[in-house]
Amino acid sequence: MAAGSDTRPVTLMYFAWVREKVGVAREEIALPASVATVADLIGWLSARGPHYANAFAKPDIIRAAINQVHVKATASLASAREVAFFPPVTGG
């Protein structure tokens, strides 16, 4: 991120019912510098429209990964190239 840039490109991915509610599996966004954490990003997305607001209506049950590693809602997006949102996993 060059100093002074207001946004930077980030890939968002959605899985399972989060994907179904958002309506897309993947999208590229221009992340504003003001969106610093995963929780911030959930808030920012929820303000984008009813599909997002619905998908993130219960943020406590949403799990997130940054660059394919599990993170908490307080995690910083500073190094994020890919952010994923999904329900608790149910494999195995």
Binding site: F15, A16, A65, H70, V89, T90, G91, G92
Partner: protein, 154 residues
């Protein structure tokens, strides 16, 4: 250490052979196979679809395996997890652990499953014979099962 994510069915004996063939230093081999149950919440299941997060799935399974090798004396491990459409009775996941000693093999296989169930990004969607269905909810018992291994926080 081997990890495979595949749509094809797996064979347990072939999985064992993959990590033990030609070796004579192994004393104990434990396998776990998770299968699709034909009934869920009182309804007969038509099929189950498994979604995953390509890339992260493999990375998590590799981390799961590495954790097990850190904690127990294991000669080799194999994890196969299927994705896509599965029918009742079919295998979902296979874990194979080879060790010199049986208790290490049992514990490591049990740990791998507990860890995998709460960390690996797979999601199950059920479709009942009556057409109803939906995403399977995570079970709190799975989190509790993982907690007993006293893992460091990630």
């Amino acid at each position: 250490m081997t990890v495979r994510v595949q749509t094809e069915p797996f064979d347990v004996s072939a999985g064992i052979a993959a990590i033990t063939m030609g070796r004579t230093d192994i004393g104990a081999i434990v396998t776990f196979t998770g299968t699709v149950r034909g009934e869920a919440h009182g309804k007969l299941l038509a099929s189950m679809e498994l979604e995953h997060y390509p890339g992260m799935t493999e990375a998590e399974l590799v981390r799961v395996e590495a954790q097990a090798h850190t904690r127990w004396s294991l000669q080799d491990t194999l994890i196969i997890h299927r994705v896509g459409m599965l029918m009742p009775g079919e295998g979902i996941v296979l874990v194979v652990v080879a060790s010199p000693h049986r208790h290490a093999a049992f514990e490591a296989a049990s740990f791998l499953m507990d860890y995998l169930k709460t960390r690996a990004p797979f999601w199950k969607k059920e479709t009942a014979l009556d057409g109803s269905g939906g995403w399977v909810d995570a079970r709190e018992s799975d989190d509790a099962a993982l907690a007993r291994w006293n893992l460091p926080h990630s």
